[in-house]
Each structure stands twice: as structure tokens, then as C-alpha cells.
């Protein structure tokens, strides 16, 4: 009983410490607030299920990215559409200086929205400034392949922005 309470306590602390990580994954993969909520809950459930098996072989954040991204890409097969659907939304402290700048940001978000599931994962880890070897631990493809993918994604984003 005490052991279980200890696990619950540790889990609560770890989730709270990395809560933003889960929110970021949800913002990247779900467009509707309800979808985000569902995905957030599903990620927490999967983290809880996997938590007893976490042995500390990888960093906690690396392990959490794996569970969160795996859940997001396998869970969200059908995106709900319709009223309330939003572009990738970033609630940031950083102020966007003016309207023109804001429009450029929107173009970038719109382009990211058009990437496939795996490309979104790569972009997210890149934005998180994860080193390539950690990306390899999360995604499971070699550092070289990730670099190539990243370069292709940047080109694709430029093209998407241009076409949009």
C-alpha cells in the first residue's frame, strides 16, 4: 500500500514537472480543444500504465516524449473538423510585435499543420532544441537520417509557406 502511494506520489511530481511537454504534444497533434483534452488524458493514462516499467535507462523527459509521441501518432487517426478547429496554437510569454509579424507566424503554423505525423515529431523535438542523439533515442532512426529529414522538412516548410 505504502509502495503504491509512493509510486503515485512520484508519478504526480514527474507529471507536474513535465506537464508543459504533454501540452506541447497535444497542441502539435490536435486541432480542436476537445481533441487536445482527450489526447492529454490518453497520454496521462499511457504514462501511468508505463510508469512502473520506467527504470531510468533514459532521461525521464526522453521517456515521456516517447510515450507522448507514440500515443499521439497512434491515437489520433481521425481528426474532428468543423467549428472550433484551430491552427497550432502557442500560448507564449513572448509578445508578437506587430500584425505583419503575426501574419508571418500564422503562415509558419499553418505550414507545420500540413506536415505528416513523423515530420511534426521531428519539428517539435527540433524546436525543443533536443540534441540529435536524443532525437534518435526518441524516434528510433539514426542521427544521419534525422539530419536529412530535418533538412527536407525545412525545405518543405519554405515551399508550403510560399504556396500558402
Amino acid at each position: 500500500m505504502l509502495h503504491k502511494e509512493g509510486i503515485i506520489g512520484n508519478f504526480e511530481n514527474d507529471i507536474k514537472q513535465h506537464e508543459l511537454l504533454i501540452h506541447k504534444v497535444c497542441r502539435m497533434y490536435a486541432r480542436l480543444p476537445d481533441d487536445r483534452k482527450d489526447l492529454f488524458q490518453e497520454i496521462v493514462i499511457q504514462l501511468w500504465k508505463a510508469y512502473p516499467g520506467f527504470r531510468g535507462d533514459a532521461k525521464l523527459s526522453t521517456w515521456m516524449y516517447r510515450v507522448s509521441l507514440n500515443t499521439a501518432i497512434t491515437h489520433l487517426r481521425r481528426q474532428r473538423t468543423g467549428a472550433g478547429a484551430e491552427l497550432l496554437r502557442i500560448d507564449a510569454i513572448h509578445e508578437i510585435p506587430d500584425q505583419e509579424e503575426d501574419a508571418r507566424w500564422q503562415e509558419m503554423y499553418k505550414a507545420i499543420e500540413q506536415l505528416n505525423h513523423v515530420e511534426k515529431a521531428v519539428v517539435m523535438l527540433y524546436l525543443e532544441e533536443k540534441p540529435y542523439n536524443e532525437m534518435e533515442e526518441i524516434i528510433g532512426i539514426s542521427t544521419g537520417a534525422i539530419r536529412v529529414k530535418m533538412s527536407r522538412i525545412k525545405k518543405k516548410l519554405r515551399l508550403l509557406i510560399k504556396n500558402n
Partner: protein
């Protein structure tokens, strides 16, 4: 605008609302709504089915071992044992598919492999069950008489064989169609993800 320009904003993101312990505990009490829920439900139905079959066999035994033919009982026992093993394998498979803490590529590859194995197993198991059923209908009259089976055996052998062949063909197409309807989309989605990970 380049992707790198987004880094600063990305890394100053804030939470919509902060979790508290109660909310977190409520969340983990919920059942998963993931794609494996369907498989788990199917497993649960199969589990109930094996209990019904086992109870049926036990009831047959309580009516006296002498009244039931030894061959019939052997068939039942073999069928029960086969089904129990099949359902246990399914249970283990779903448990393995639930593992989400591996690298993304490994997770996707494992899910594809496990799901394909499961579908193949299902197809084979249903076919074996059907063959056992046909064998029972054909062998039973040699040892025991029942009005229904005797009526069936009035039909000429070639008509019975044609009907059996039709049943086997129907089972093949029905099983494939059900599998495709139930898991086809998910499998296709996983394969698409595997391609993206190349």
C-alpha cells in the same frame, strides 16, 4: 520566416491550466480510448465465450460419462484447450501492443507485426474450429445417433461436401472482411507511419 525563428517563442510557452493531484488521479482512473480498446473488448468477449464452452462441457460430464461418447468428449476437450490457448495468446498480444515507451519506430514496427500475426492467427483458428465442426458432424453418426444429424446425413455425400466447401470459402471471405473492417484502417495507418519513419 524560418523554423529557427519559432524556437524562441516555442520555448516560452505556458500552460493553459495547471494540473492538480485530484485532476491527475481522476484522469488515470479513466479507461483508455485508444485504438487497442477494440481489441481488448474482443478479447473480453472471447473470454466469456470460453467460459460458456467450458461450462457446457462440464454439464455434459455431470450427465454421466457413459452417455457421452469418448470421441465427442475428446473433441470438446481439444477444442476448449485450443480456444483457451488462442485467447491467452490474444491477451498477451494486446498487452505487448499496449507498450508505448519504446522508440517510435520500434513501437510502430512491433504494432504492425503483432496485429498482422493476430489477424493471421484469428483466420487460422476460425478455420480449424470450422473443420472440427465438420469432422464432428461426419464422424458422430458412426458412434451416436441424433435426429438432426441423421436428417443431415440423408443428403448425398457430394452435396454435403459442396456445402462444407461453401462454408469454408464463406468463412475465409467473411473473416477477411471482418478483420479488414475492424482493424484494416488502423493497420493502414500504422503502415503509413512506418513509411514516414523510413
Amino acid at each position: 520566416m524560418e523554423l529557427d525563428d519559432l524556437k524562441q517563442t516555442w520555448n516560452t510557452q505556458t500552460n493553459d491550466n495547471t494540473l492538480n493531484n485530484d485532476t491527475l488521479m481522476q484522469m488515470i482512473q479513466h479507461n483508455s480510448t485508444g485504438p487497442l480498446v477494440g481489441l481488448k473488448k474482443a478479447f473480453s468477449k472471447q473470454y466469456r465465450f470460453i467460459i460458456i464452452v467450458a461450462v457446457f462441457v462440464l454439464l455434459q460430464l455431470t450427465h454421466g460419462f457413459t452417455s457421452i461418447n469418448v470421441i465427442m468428449f475428446t473433441f470438446y476437450a481439444a477444442l476448449c484447450a485450443g480456444l483457451a490457448y488462442f485467447f491467452y495468446s490474444n491477451y498477451r498480444l494486446v498487452k505487448r501492443m499496449e507498450k508505448m515507451d519504446m522508440e517510435m519506430k520500434t513501437t510502430i514496427q512491433q504494432q504492425i507485426s503483432l496485429l498482422e500475426t493476430r489477424l493471421q492467427w484469428h483466420l487460422t483458428a476460425v478455420r480449424i474450429a470450422l473443420l472440427v465442426f465438420i469432422a464432428l458432424i461426419e464422424i458422430l453418426p458412426l458412434f451416436q445417433h441424433s435426429r438432426m444429424i441423421d436428417k443431415w446425413h440423408i443428403l448425398p455425400a457430394y452435396i454435403r461436401i459442396l456445402i462444407y466447401a461453401g462454408l469454408i470459402a464463406l468463412q475465409y471471405f467473411a473473416s477477411r472482411s471482418i478483420s479488414r473492417r475492424k482493424y484494416g484502417n488502423y493497420l493502414a495507418h500504422l503502415k503509413e507511419l512506418a513509411t514516414q519513419l523510413q
